[in-house]
C-alpha cells in the first residue's frame, strides 16, 4: 500500500460537493454514451441506407436467425442482476456486509449466465453457420455491438469479484469509502444493463 491518500473519497469535494469517485464515474459513463452512441449511429446509417432489395439489402428478421427467446432471457438476467447490484449497495447502507456480498455474488453469477448463454447459444452457433462479422452489415454490427457490450460485462465481473474478495478489506477500515466504491460500480453496471435494454429490441426484434 502506498502512503498517499486519495482525497474526497467520502467527504464531498468543496467545489463539486460530490465525493470525487461519483463525478469520475459519471464522466466515464458520458464517454461510454459517446462510444455506444457512435455504434448505434452506425447501425441507423447502415440500416436506413441499405438497398431495398438485392444482396446488400438489410436482412429480414427471420434471416438473421436471432432468437428473441434467448435475447429476452438474457434481458431478464441482466435486469435481475441490476436489482441485486443495487440491493448490495442498500445492504451496505444498513451495514450488512454479509448480505451485500451475497447480492454481489448473485450479480456475478447472473453476469456469468449472460456470458455463457451468449457464447454457447449465440456466438458459437452463429459462427458455425457462417454468420461471421464479414457475412453482412447486420452481423458486422451485431458482433461489434454485442461484443463490446459483452466486454463490459466481463469488466464488471472482474470489478465486482474484486469487491467480494480482496477489495472488501476496505470495509473494515473505511466502510463509507467501500460503500461509495460499490455505488460507483453499480452505476457502471446499471449503464451496461441500460445499453442492453436498447440492444435487445434493435437486434433481436425489429
Amino acid at each position: 500500500m502506498s502512503t498517499a491518500v486519495l482525497p474526497y473519497t467520502v467527504e464531498p469535494h468543496p467545489i463539486t460537493r460530490l465525493y470525487s469517485g461519483k463525478l469520475g464515474i459519471w464522466l466515464f459513463l458520458a464517454s461510454e454514451v459517446m462510444l455506444f452512441g457512435a455504434l448505434f449511429s452506425s447501425y441507423v446509417l447502415l440500416r436506413v441506407g441499405a438497398p431495398v432489395a438485392g444482396p446488400a439489402a438489410w436482412p429480414a428478421h427471420a434471416e438473421t436467425g436471432l432468437s428473441w427467446k434467448i435475447g429476452g432471457f438474457n434481458t431478464l438476467v441482466l435486469i435481475i442482476s441490476s436489482v441485486t447490484m443495487v440491493m448490495a449497495w442498500a445492504a451496505l447502507k444498513t451495514h450488512n456486509i454479509g448480505r451485500a456480498k451475497a447480492y454481489l455474488a448473485t450479480t456475478v453469477f447472473l453476469a456469468l449466465v449472460f456470458i455463457v448463454v451468449k457464447l454457447t447459444l449465440e456466438y458459437i452457433p452463429k459462427i458455425q453457420a457462417g454468420h461471421t462479422p464479414s457475412h453482412n452489415n447486420f452481423f458486422a454490427l451485431y458482433f461489434t455491438l454485442t461484443g463490446l457490450h459483452a466486454l463490459h460485462i466481463i469488466g464488471g465481473i472482474i470489478v465486482i469479484t474484486y469487491f467480494i474478495g480482496p477489495g472488501s478489506a476496505l470495509w473494515k477500515t473505511d466502510p463509507e469509502y467501500f460503500t461509495n466504491r460499490v455505488e460507483c460500480t453499480g452505476l457502471y453496471w446499471h449503464f451496461v444493463d441500460l445499453v442492453w435494454i436498447f440492444l435487445f429490441p434493435v437486434l433481436y426484434l425489429t
Binding site: 464522466l27 454514451v33 436506413v48 441506407g49 441499405a50 435486469i79 442498500a90 435487445f200 429490441p201 426484434l205
Partner: protein, 121 residues
C-alpha cells in the same frame, strides 16, 4: 447521501417495483413484436418501451431521481446534446445520396459506385 434504515427500506421496495415494471416492459416488448403491425410502427413501439425502461433504470437504480448535483446534470446535458448530434449524422449522410446509393453498399453495387464517383473527391 445520508440514509436511515427506514429510507433504505423505502428504496428497496421501490427497487422491487421498478424490477417488476422492467420485467413487464420486456414481456410487452416481445408481445408487441408478435402483433405484425407495420414495420416502422413496430420499431417505434419497441424503442418507445426501451426508452421508458432505460429511464426507470437511470432514475431509480442510478439514483438520478435523487440527484441534485449540477455537475452531474450538466455532464449529462452535454452528453445528451452530443448523443443527438451522433444520431443525426446518418440523417445528414443519407440525404446527400439518392436512394439505394449509400456508403457500405458499393462493393455490391459497382454501377452505382462509378456513377457517383465524381461526387467524392
Amino acid at each position: 447521501m445520508d440514509h436511515s434504515h427506514a429510507d433504505t427500506d423505502k428504496h428497496v421496495r421501490l427497487y422491487l417495483t421498478v424490477f417488476a415494471a422492467l420485467a413487464v416492459g420486456t414481456v410487452v416488448t416481445v408481445a408487441a413484436n408478435q402483433l405484425h403491425v407495420e414495420h416502422a410502427l413496430a420499431i417505434g413501439i419497441a424503442l418507445g418501451i426501451a426508452t421508458v425502461k432505460a429511464s426507470l433504470v437511470a432514475a431509480v437504480f442510478m439514483h438520478l431521481k435523487w440527484e441534485r448535483s449540477a455537475w452531474i446534470w450538466s455532464t449529462l446535458a452535454l452528453c445528451a446534446v452530443f448523443f443527438v448530434v451522433l444520431l443525426f449524422i446518418p440523417v445528414l449522410e443519407t440525404s446527400e445520396h439518392p436512394p439505394n446509393v449509400v456508403v457500405g453498399t458499393w462493393d455490391v453495387l459497382p454501377e452505382a459506385h462509378t456513377e457517383h464517383a465524381g461526387h467524392h473527391e
